[in-house]
């Protein structure tokens, strides 16, 4: 197991290196010189050139990349062009809030989708299954900004049950301290995932229900509910673990929309704003973080599946 984990770690590190290179060079291609962005459009080209020279932006891009990489290894993500603050500080300030929002969305999505998917499989092709499938596809097809707007219109403006704006607290624990304000954002974030998870869980549970061990469990005299909880649940969740791992970065992307829609001060909002301001060091850091989450998510999913399913050969 340890060897397997180590092997996966090395591979993950290499993938990260690749991502950083691709992102760095791509941003370099689309961006004007940093001097122009920082100093604005009205400054003379000479001043821009002087700024670039002073900060080493006129060196060959490979050198700049290696320099960036070197500083990255020391935890230095550079400095925001516009916010006059270290990128790492900005991320640290916002990451907790985003993570809590994502986590809450993920937990809600799983809590709904896992039992729903299994129930759908057990009552396959019944009215509940059909209805749930239809709703799932509708939710899946609905862009989250639209869903968010609808939720705001219905539950905030019409019914007045929840505020239209998310908690503005600087604490990451807003989900717990101000649950009313966080309800709509979390639901909006979870809705799309519920659809994907439930359909996935349904087909995986159907697959498992057809396996002989379910029939054997029945022959032992177990109640249907016991068969589901003791035998089916764990086996049917295996594919979902992998899916959740790969979806973690998607939740981050979902954050961008939900955070801006509900004006929640998290990484997504920070990213959106820096996109408008062409604040490349921040964009670079945010993209790298997305890559890191993807890699870590996959890594964790693989390790968890290997731990949960003993048939997977580890150490290869």
């Amino acid at each position: 197991m340890a060897k397997y984990v180590l092997h996966r770690l090395v591979v993950s590190a290499l993938v990260m290196l690749g991502i950083s290179a691709v992102v760095y060079f791509m941003l370099h291609l689309v961006s004007d010189s940093p001097g122009r962005i920082v100093l604005g459009q009205r400054v003379s080209p000479e001043a821009v050139a002087a700024f670039d020279h002073q900060h080493g932006f006129d060196r060959p891009v490979v050198v700049q990349y290696l320099d960036y990489l070197g500083r990255l290894l020391h935890g230095d993500l550079g400095r925001s062009y516009k916010l006059n603050e270290n990128v790492s500080t900005l991320i640290a300030q916002n990451a907790g809030r985003s993570a809590m929002l994502s986590l809450a969305g993920l937990v809600l999505a799983l809590a709904v989708a896992v039992p729903l998917g299994i129930l759908q499989a057990v009552r396959r092709n019944g009215p509940l299954d059909r209805a749930a499938t239809a709703v799932s596809y509708m939710l899946y097809a609905t862009p989250s900004f639209l869903l968010g707007l609808v939720l705001i219109a219905v539950f905030s403006q019409q019914a007045g049950l929840f505020p239209a704006e998310a908690s503005q607290s600087h604490s990451p624990w807003a989900v717990f301290t101000d649950p009313r304000a966080m309800t709509l954002p979390v639901i909006t974030l979870a809705a799309g995932s519920v659809a994907v998870f439930a359909q996935h869980q349904r087909s995986s549970a159907l697959d498992q229900l057809g396996q002989d061990y379910i029939r054997v469990a029945r022959a032992k005299g177990l109640r249907e509910r016991q068969i589901l909880t003791r035998h089916l649940l764990r086996n049917a969740c295996m594919p979902l673990i992998t899916l959740v791992g790969t979806l973690v970065p998607t939740l981050l992307a979902g954050n961008v929309i939900v955070e801006s829609l509900f004006n929640y001060p998290g990484l997504g909002l920070l990213f959106l704003n820096s996109l408008q301001r062409e604040d490349y060091p921040l964009l670079l850091a945010y993209t790298l973080m997305g890559g890191l989450l993807t890699v870590v998510g996959n890594f964790l999913a693989d390790v968890m599946v290997a731990a949960a399913d003993r048939r997977i050969e580890v150490g290869r």
Partner: protein, 644 residues
């Protein structure tokens, strides 16, 4: 008398409704099971034998219900009870082993302990203790996850799971069908032993007449959802009454039958239970059927349900001898096989499959020859490398050493002249292609013209109507699909046909049709053949010469008569003794083969051999001739008569 009876099933009828389709898989079945008795139920797919078992367990599939009759256990009406109260406790079921019959993510002790907790209400700890005892009793010593066990061990776990609550009745549904004969014998011994020890009654559901003959006290023969015949075992075999029973018995290849006799084959296919006909369900396939049979259902007399019963044992009267022309042809070819030049030559073939750090040594230096018109049979247990070898023969896989030579040329990729017939035709035929396209495809690949005409001739050869050309594989029956598989293999006019388990996926009555067809086609076309099977009787029926494989090596080769009649290798003798057929002679091979990852030194069979000595561990026995055509790789070959 009823007090002696444990389980009484009277007039049981079952129907299953799925959408608009209504199927009656069990109709008016009456069975009685005495205390400590084994009742065998035989029948083919769709005969209703498994469904009867499931009905007793109260485990009918969705849409299924009992529509008539009664099931009593010790005087209690099971149909009136909640099945969960007796299921797994008083009545238990053992299913056919499959890779998925145990929960892959639970340890086996936990799985065996589950019924104890459920039915006895014991603590987790006590239940585990009980489970461990039961597992030790069935010969599984260590705990672990199901994938760490072999097929035989998994079946032992299944038995432990069923018997851990000491049920009064155990229903074993094809308990050994997925297992090798060697392990089959062990599992059946174990079941018999436990049954006798605990005074349990057993219903043994199987399609294998040999198993029934050896293990059952009474037999019920089912056909088309009905009981065709029911009698003590000796009577079923000694005084067969129903026409179907007789036809079934005559269509099974055995190790004792005269090879020159063609197997009796029952024409047609089992009835469609969604469309019940009046009259006897077997009437459309019965050679003695009269109008009465087709119109009026024969009543069950207590032993049989047939308007024109037979009386007496099955003799070769029902079998055709091969037509003289074919026999003489077969005689000629087998005469040339020893001296004629080889069509297919296998020289020191080696194939190793690396899996991670370990290497599975599937084929470890195998040599043999096949002459034109001759069929070479390969037998061995599962995992001995016979299928890997088959793939090498047709060039679907490349050897790591040695070579396959066809007509003087090395086979390195698939070629026209060497074709393969696969085990499972439903998996080997593209489900989205019509049969016509499947058969024309090989011709198109090789740019052969007049395809339609050729395909028409192929269909004639394998006895299929033209109408199948427009059908999809799923629309055909298993036997028809296997015929298509044969036609596809023959499409390119091969010189050698390699058949890997050609009939093991088929029902007994269909098997003989396909076996006869293969024999006839091969004789007509003068094809060389390689038949790979774990079924000794099938190989004996089809092959002129036989090679016995053990862990990637040939241990014995010779003519079919030599190998089956006077086995020289202890392994061959042990395999033959394990076949459930008539009286048992000799000692069957015990246990399971070691892993092909790390085969034993010297003679690979030594770990399971009663005759093994020091020498066997240090020196690998070379192939040495016993007679001109009979060769064996053993330091202590059996002499004729010693293996019984």
């Amino acid at each position: 008398m009823d007090s002696q009876k444990n389980l009484i099933v009277r007039g049981l009828s079952v129907e299953i409704r799925r959408g608009d389709r209504l199927v009656r898989p069990v109709a008016d079945v009456t069975l009685e099971l005495g205390r400590g008795e084994t009742l065998g139920i035989v029948g083919e797919t769709g005969s209703g034998k498994s469904m009867t078992g499931l009905a007793i367990m109260g485990m009918l599939p969705a849409g299924g219900r009992v529509t008539g009759g009664s099931i009593e256990l010790g005087g209690r009406d099971l149909l009136a009870m909640d099945p969960r109260r007796y299921r797994g406790g008083e009545v238990a079921m053992i299913f056919q082993d499959s890779l998925t019959s145990l929960n892959p993510t639970k340890k086996i002790v936990e799985q065996v302990a589950e019924p104890v907790r459920l039915h006895r209400g014991e603590s987790r700890r006590a239940a585990r203790e009980r489970a461990r005892e039961m597992l030790a009793r069935v010969g599984v010593q260590r705990d672990g996850y199901p994938h760490q066990l072999s097929g035989g061990q998994r079946q032992r776990v299944m038995i432990a799971m069923a018997l851990v609550c000491e049920p009064e009745v155990v229903i074993a549904d094809e308990p050994t069908t997925a297992l090798d004969v060697t392990i089959q014998a062990e599992i059946l011994d174990l079941l018999d032993e436990l049954r006798a020890q605990r005074g349990m009654s057993m219903i043994l559901i199987t399609h294998d007449m040999g198993v029934i003959a050896q293990r059952a006290d009474r037999v019920g023969v089912m056909y088309g959802g009905r009981l065709a015949e029911s009698a003590p075992t000796a009577e079923i075999f000694g005084r067969t009454r129903h026409r179907y029973t007789r036809a079934l018995l005559a269509s099974i290849p055995t190790l004792a039958q005269d090879k020159d006799e063609e197997l009796f084959s029952i024409p047609g296919a089992p009835p469609d239970l969604a469309r019940p006909e009046p009259g006897c369900p077997f009437a459309p396939r019965c050679d003695a059927a009269t109008d009465r049979c087709r119109e009026e259902l024969p009543p069950f007399t207590g032993t049989y349900a047939c308007w024109h019963p037979v009386d007496g044992p099955v003799t070769s009267a029902g079998r055709k001898r091969l037509p003289p022309s074919e026999t003489s042809e077969a005689g000629e070819t087998s005469g040339t096989s020893g001296t004629g030049e080889a069509l297919l030559r296998v020289v020191d073939l080696v194939r190793e499959h690396p899996t991670g750090r370990r290497t599975v040594k599937a084929v470890s230096g195998i040599s043999f020859e096949v002459a034109a018109g001759e069929t070479f049979g390969l037998v061995g247990e599962s995992g001995c490398g016979k299928s890997s070898l088959g793939r090498l023969l047709v060039g679907l896989d490349r050897p790591d050493g040695g070579e396959v030579v066809f007509a003087g040329e090395r086979v390195t990729r698939p070629r026209r002249a060497v074709q393969m017939m696969f085990q499972d035709a439903s998996a080997a035929l593209d489900p989205r292609m019509r049969i016509g396209r499947i058969l024309r495809e090989p011709l198109a690949i090789h740019g052969i013209g007049d395809r339609r005409e050729r395909v028409g001739r192929l269909l004639d050869d394998v006895g299929l109507p033209e109408s199948v050309l427009d059908r999809y594989p799923y629309e055909l029956s298993g036997g028809q699909r296997q015929r298509v598989g044969l036609a596809r293999a023959l499409a390119l006019d091969p010189k050698v046909l390699v058949a890997d388990e050609p009939v093991s996926a088929l029902d007994v009555s269909i098997r003989s049709q396909v076996l006869n067809l293969m024999r006839r086609v091969q004789a007509e076309r003068g094809l060389g053949g390689v038949v790979i099977s774990h079924d000794l009787a099938v190989v004996r029926y089809l092959a002129d010469r036989v090679g016995v494989m053990y862990l990637g090596k040939l241990v014995e080769t010779g003519t079919t008569d030599e190998v089956f009649g006077a086995a020289a290798h202890p392994y061959t003798a042990g395999l033959l003794a394990a076949v459930p057929e008539g009286e048992r002679t000799g000692t069957p091979v015990r246990g399971e083969p070691p892993s092909p990852v790390d085969p034993p030194s010297g003679c690979r069979f030594r770990t399971r051999c009663a005759l093994a000595t020091e020498e066997c561990a240090t020196t690998e026995p070379p192939m040495t001739p016993v007679t001109g055509t009979h060769r064996v790789a053993c330091h202590y070959p059996l002499r004729e008569g010693r293996n019984g």
